[in-house]
């Protein structure tokens, strides 16, 4: 029915450290179909970002690799556009110019000047930023910056849209707005999306499948949960939906029962510090 688009096969990666090699990922396997929305969820430090960076080509896997449409991924490229957590817009360029940089690079020889301009404006309109085309990043809010970041990624017409906790740094209301926008855009364009998130609700609301990762070191895919909710999805209607809540609790169970994070020394000492502080207050 739907055809295989992106395949992660037996990915493992080791990072050199002073104390020897650190194995971050081991045997990560995943098959992603065209137009699918995949969320990667797991405790912090489990290697979600590393998986995304390998797909993006920013990291090289030690073993295995990512294959996109039959071609192995070796280096970064605009067909795998990335939306970074901290928007990473060029601060000296306006919203329009930031998208323009990408468009000029990707469609250097295939679009006329006029087509480029229309394409840039179209993408900024998709993320509802038409009113602030010529504002610089320091003149707009965090949510707006992230919208421009998404517009820049979309303007590359990527085969896969990679999002690294795109809404992590935003407040809850802005985040909800952007999630709705993203669902809208995805319904319209049918992009394949791989998104990292910490937010269980976000994962269930947006995804076709949620990939839950085990804790590191040597993290791998723990469980994959298929979200069978009809689209378009409405967050208010879903709030009382038993299926939705069932999915939600499945993810929560995985994270807090099966993969209960064992505190390492650093975070343990932090919590001791917190206890100390609270006892001092008392």
């Amino acid at each position: 029915m739907s055809k295989l688009h992106l395949e992660l096969s037996a990915i493992g990666i080791e990072f050199p450290t002073p104390k020897g090699a650190f194995r971050a990922l081991a045997n990560v396997n995943l098959k992603i179909n065209k137009g699918e929305f995949i969320s990667l969820i797991g405790h912090s430090g489990c290697g979600k970002s590393t998986v995304l960076n390998i797909i993006a080509g920013l990291h090289q896997a030690t073993e295995g690799g990512a294959v996109l449409d039959g071609k192995e991924v070796n280096e970064p490229g605009p067909e795998r556009a990335v939306v970074f957590q901290n928007h990473s817009l060029l601060p000296w360029l306006t919203a329009y110019e930031n998208v323009e940089l990408a468009v000029n690079q990707v469609f250097k020889n295939t679009m006329s000047k006029k087509e480029k301009r229309e394409w840039i404006e179209h993408n900024l309109e998709l993320v509802h930023m038409s009113h602030a085309l010529h504002k610089r990043p320091d003149e707009i809010s965090g949510g707006m910056k992230q919208r421009v970041g998404i517009a820049r990624a979309l303007s590359m017409q990527p085969q896969v849209l990679l999002m690294d906790e795109p809404f992590g740094a935003l407040d809850a209301l802005t985040r909800a707005h952007l999630q709705d926008s993203l669902m809208e855009i995805q319904a319209q364009l049918g992009n394949t999306v791989v998104m990292i998130t910490h937010d269980v609700d976000e994962a269930v609301l947006l995804s076709d499948r949620i990939v839950m990762m085990t804790n590191g070191p040597a993290a791998t895919v723990g469980e994959i949960l298929k979200i069978d909710l009809p689209r378009p999805r409405n967050r208010i209607a879903l709030a009382d939906d038993p299926t939705y809540n069932h999915y939600r609790s499945a993810v929560l169970k995985f994270l807090y029962e099966k993969q209960k994070k064992i505190e390492d020394i650093k975070s343990a000492s932090q919590s001791v510090g917190i206890k100390k502080a609270t006892s001092e207050v008392a």
């Binding site: 970064p76 605009p78 970074f84 990473s88 060029l90 601060p91 940089l101 690079q105």
Partner: protein, 328 residues
């Protein structure tokens, strides 16, 4: 709409009026008090210092010499103009008597006035600064981009950076004399010597700051550049250069300050024309007015240095995109 904006303008005017009265008045008053106190202390102390050239000049004598220097400049200009008019007349006469006569124009060789010296110094310092920047900015970018290159050249930079212009000068003079040989030189040798000395001493802050700025580009922006597959040239043009501009300008401002200080010292020691030579000539001259004239030069040097820094600051404020860091 127009009435709205009008009333808006009016209300903002009304609001800003009391602010203007207090803070602007203080901003004028405090420096005036400071300068007056300084002048009073100066004129009180000056007559008590006896030198071989008479008492140390106070503000009044210095002001008098400022006017004299200006008059001398005007007179010199008049003489020059008269010289050229005379020459023209003479040439016209000769040409009338003898049609085959080839007109020769001799340039005026009067002595350089104080104002001329300021001009020479300004031209030299700007040329030296531009040369230093043309070397330091590209080199700084390469050093910032390559950690290996940085490790290779850093010791050399660190050793040459603190070298005084006075130490460079004999070497530069000898090398320029040996290398810059031409029948019809475009520039004076002394100009080239000053220029190179100024560049050698002033390029380091720009070099180091540019390198640091380039080396510390946001990792996210580097990733963006990689995802877009920007070519090296586009990467430098679109990502590296703009993001290192704030640091680069910090370096440029330090450099122009150093360039100006170095130039005066170089002119003095090497007898290159300019303000430094003026100071040295007055010192050698040793007339009763010499000290006052040197003080005029000192104040001028300070004022020009201040203006150069302000101009750089204006440019910096114009090109700096990082509004979170206040530029001052």
């Amino acid at each position: 709409m127009t009435t709205q904006t009008k009333s808006h303008v009016l209300s903002s005017l009304n609001l800003s009026m009391p602010k203007f009265n207090t803070s602007m008045l203080l901003a004028l008053l405090l420096p005036t008090i400071g300068i007056s106190l300084f002048l009073m202390m100066w004129s009180a102390a000056a007559p008590k210092i006896d030198t071989s050239l008479g008492a140390f000049p106070g503000p009044a004598q210095v002001w008098e010499q400022t006017l004299t220097l200006w008059d001398e400049h005007i007179q010199e200009r008049e003489k020059e103009e008269a010289f050229y008019i005379r020459q023209e007349e003479r040439n016209a006469q000769r040409a009338a008597q003898d049609p085959s006569y080839e007109v020769k124009i001799r340039s005026y060789t009067g002595k350089a006035t104080f104002i001329d010296q300021i001009g020479t110094s300004l031209v030299t310092v700007l040329a030296g600064f531009v040369l230093a920047s043309l070397i330091a900015i590209p080199l700084g970018i390469f050093i910032g981009l390559s950690e290996r290159l940085n490790q290779a050249v850093n010791p050399i930079i660190q050793v040459f950076k603190p070298v005084s212009p006075l130490a460079w000068l004999p070497l530069v003079t000898m090398v320029v004399s040996a290398v810059y040989v031409s029948e019809d030189p475009l520039f004076e040798k002394s100009f080239i010597t000053s220029l190179i000395t100024v560049s050698l001493c002033s390029l380091w802050p720009t070099l180091l700051n540019t390198a640091v700025g380039v080396a510390n580009i946001d990792k996210d922006l580097m990733n963006v550049s990689q995802v877009l597959r920007l070519s090296t040239l586009t990467h430098i043009r679109k990502i590296v250069l703009p993001s290192s501009i704030p640091m680069m300008f910090t370096g440029l401002r330090l450099s122009i300050g150093i360039a100006w200080m170095v130039l005066i010292a170089a002119e003095m020691l090497a007898q290159n024309p300019g303000l430094g030579k003026f100071v040295w000539d007055e010192f050698q001259n040793g007339s009763s007015n010499s000290l006052a004239r040197i003080i005029v030069a000192v104040l001028t040097i300070g004022f020009v240095g201040y203006c150069l820094d302000r101009i750089m600051l204006l440019i910096q404020q114009r090109v700096n995109w990082d509004k979170s860091t206040q530029v001052r």
